[in-house]
């Protein structure tokens, strides 16, 4: 099998898996006062420190969660509620148009249920957020903005965003910036303090850790109303018995990923470049989406004119190649990607896209498999696309 869907989830690093298994054999609830509890607590706090060190944060700023979706929900809703409680006029959210659904749908929920007003930050044709638009909307609405949210790197097209610049502009207006850095950590340098962001989302399973554990890095002075109430384990912002083995494995993965990032980016970037070159040769009219330069090293995202992404996915899957259309499903039905639509693509181009993402286990042999299978798949998908176009 050729696995080119590391942005969906990437295999656990052996070290993380070993750390998980070893810790899972240990007993203890990190909230208990007795010896096994203290032991578990120590594992958690060591992990917190390792993650903080790797991400340029203070240990107290790392709040463990059940993953990226929870961290994004917590940041978006929690910061909104806290800011509005402190200053009732602050009910506006500035959000980029290309956020992951964990952010996007949380923002839309606040707009629908909580009276939030939303300014969507546009992106250019390469998926880059428009810094001037942020400046303009802050100039216009600065006093009523609760917070802004802008992802560090896009999970679909791989465009890396000018986060520090965005954070600086927000800071000048006293507006906290949340950034979803899930795809960025392990692929590009991420430094929380240096970025000027107020909150940052990271998750385990995109960088070699386990699924179901992540963190919200939340600046010390940032108020955040909890979503989950209970034991108040995590700074009273997040409750729930901590997943000690998950957290230890997560910290192990973050540490390795960040330490080895430069070498990883060079190696994976080279394989990715071979993939882009190969795809262009195999299908000359394929369009590379996203920023060709400021791009995650593991991401290659194309539109194949005349094809439906779904059809290509099915055909490649049948050849043992796992990739993704990159866009979310509703009831299993592919929707045109909101990211590509925000980039100005029309519906057809948005539906004709396919995402290949590489990771620490990727090889050139996998690239060869894709390049070999692609021409026939594209030809068939085009025929299917033509059938559909003719009948609708």
């Amino acid at each position: 099998m050729a696995y080119l869907d590391h942005a969906a989830t990437t295999p656990m690093l052996p070290e993380a898996l070993d750390a998980y298994a070893a810790t899972a054999r240990e007993l203890g609830n990190a909230s208990s006062l007795h010896a096994p509890g203290r032991h578990a607590r120590r594992r958690v706090e060591e992990s917190r420190e390792r993650i903080a060190a790797a991400l340029g944060a203070r240990p107290s700023e790392v709040i463990f969660t059940s993953g990226g979706t929870e961290s994004d929900n917590l940041a978006v809703k929690g910061i909104f509620w806290a800011r509005r409680a402190a200053e009732p006029a602050r009910t506006r959210i500035i959000a980029s148009a290309v956020e992951h659904h964990a952010v996007l749908d949380s923002v839309e929920w606040l707009a629908r249920e909580e009276g939030a007003r939303v300014t969507w930050l546009p992106v250019d044709g390469l998926g880059r957020m428009e810094v001037d638009a942020l400046r303009a909307s802050l100039d216009e609405y600065g006093d009523e903005v609760a917070f802004a949210t802008a992802m560090w790197a896009n999970n679909e097209v791989g465009t890396v965003q000018p986060v520090a610049e965005l954070a600086q502009i927000c800071a000048a207006h006293g507006v906290p910036l949340h950034t979803d850095a899930i795809q960025a950590v392990s692929q590009v340098p991420v430094d929380f303090a240096g970025s000027g962001a107020a909150a940052l989302t990271v998750t385990g399973h995109k960088l070699g850790g386990p699924i179901g554990v992540g963190a919200l890095v939340l600046g010390r002075d940032i108020e955040c109303t909890p979503l989950l109430h209970g034991g108040g384990q995590e700074r009273d912002v997040r409750s729930g018995t901590l997943d000690v083995p998950g957290i230890v494995a997560f910290a192990t993965a973050v540490e390795i990923a960040v330490k080895g990032r430069a070498e990883y980016a060079a190696r994976v970037g080279e394989i990715r470049d071979a993939l882009i070159a190969g795809v262009r040769q195999a299908v000359p009219d394929a369009i590379l989406n996203g920023d060709p330069v400021d791009r995650l090293p593991g991401n290659a995202h194309f539109s194949f004119p005349g094809c439906e992404g779904d059809a290509l996915l099915l055909l490649l899957d049948a050849q043992g190649i796992a990739c993704s259309t990159g866009s979310a499903c509703s009831a299993g039905v592919a929707q045109p990607s909101h990211v590509l639509l925000a980039m100005g693509a029309d519906d057809d181009r948005a539906r004709s896209s396919l995402r290949f993402t590489l990771g620490h286990t990727s090889t050139l042999a996998e690239v060869d498999a894709v390049v070999a299978a692609l021409p026939a798949a594209v030809e068939r998908a085009r025929r299917a696309g033509a059938v559909r176009a003719a009948r609708v």
């Binding site: 049948a318 509703s330 299993g332 068939r380």
Partner: protein, 359 residues
């Protein structure tokens, strides 16, 4: 794979027979929650999940294909338009004709597949002839009779030699969780089975007269002629009993005047049926009248008839009169056969009349 037991077992049998099978669930609703919300039907998220589970157990890839726009245009809108025109459509038949063995088949062929496999209860052998299922109670050849030879050449119906009970047993044996799932009976896009309410929401209510055919008198009013079906007796709510004291049935619906005509049961009897757009499923267009059987509604009793082609139309002369034949339904011609009655062809009923002397 609808999420029901039949398509699950059909897929399993096809895979076991050595075909390279991919499971496909059709998303037919633009908004899955708005259609049926119970356990049955074709469009819920739960059904999609059941179908996916079955595919996983069988060990085949599984995809959801979005056919919602096509389904709306070709089946749902057609259904409403047919009722509005005073006819009684069969949406399952239309779905087979336009979606499952057209849109889905075309896409599948383009993608490199060879055939569409479904869980319909009908037989289709090497001779290319479509036959009734061995399980006459579950036979679905009627709703497949619109398929052309070309469509049938790319169709596989693995269940035709089994009874429904055998299919359920086999599903249980194969650990398919849908083994006990109840059959779906009514129209999948009408959530609560309330066809009249559905039509009312689409077509609104336009009051009109109910007229007695024997006297020409107005005997009642209605809220929209489309809500009536030829042969219907209940729900007429007539103001006065008929002069002859006999119960009244709907004889015809005239959309232009928004009139429902009623009369006694005998007036429903017809023995000549005309159909348009005939499809000759078994191949050749009959050059002379053929002695065969016809079925005039889903689950209807077959009736002996002489069937002929008359300038692109099908005409069936029934050997005995039958009641309540509605325009819009299909007339399907069968040749009785010990190996399963053979579907010769079908057409959409336009009119029916009493040609011979009244019985």
């Amino acid at each position: 794979m609808s999420g029901g037991v039949d398509s699950a077992v059909a897929a399993a049998r096809a895979a076991e027979a050595g075909y390279d099978v991919t499971g496909v669930h059709l998303a037919l609703s633009r908004n899955p929650q708005t259609y049926r919300s119970g356990a049955r039907g074709c469009c819920t998220l739960e059904d999609a999940r059941d179908a996916r589970r079955a595919a996983d157990v069988i060990g085949i890839p599984f995809y959801v294909w979005d056919m919602a726009d096509r389904f709306h245009a070709d089946v749902v809108d057609d259904f409403v338009a047919e009722y509005a025109a005073g006819r009684t459509p069969n949406p399952c038949l239309r779905c087979n004709e336009k979606i499952k063995f057209a849109a889905v088949l075309d896409r599948a062929l383009a993608l490199g597949f060879d055939a569409v496999v479904t869980g319909h209860h009908a037989r289709l052998g090497a001779d290319g002839l479509l036959r009734r299922s061995v399980d006459l109670g579950k036979d679905q050849s009627y709703v497949l009779a619109v398929l052309t030879r070309e469509q049938l050449a790319h169709s596989i119906f693995p269940l035709g030699d089994s009874t429904k009970a055998q299919v359920r047993e086999e599903a249980a044996r194969r650990d398919l969780a849908v083994a006990e799932k109840p059959d779906s009976h009514d129209i999948c896009f009408i959530a609560d089975g309330d066809t009249r309410g559905f039509l009312h929401s689409r077509l609104g209510g336009t009051p009109g007269d109910i007229v007695d055919a024997t006297t020409g008198e107005v005997v009642g009013t209605h809220e929209g002629a489309y809500a009536y079906t030829v042969g219907q007796r209940r729900g007429l709510d007539l103001r006065r009993p008929a002069a002859d004291g006999k119960p009244r049935y709907v004889l015809s619906i005239t959309p232009v005047t928004n009139t429902v005509t009623v009369g006694p049961a005998e007036a429903l009897e017809v023995d000549r049926v005309h159909g348009e757009r005939p499809v000759w499923t078994a191949g050749e267009v009959p050059s002379s009248e053929i002695d065969c059987e016809v079925q005039l509604r889903a689950h209807g009793e077959p009736v002996r008839a002489g069937v002929r082609v008359d300038s692109d139309r099908l005409v069936a002369e029934l050997h005995r009169p039958v009641r309540g034949i509605a325009a819009g339904q299909a007339v399907v011609a069968y040749r009785p056969d010990p190996a399963g009655d053979i579907v010769l062809g079908s057409a959409t009923i336009t009119t029916a009349e009493r040609a011979g002397a009244p019985a």
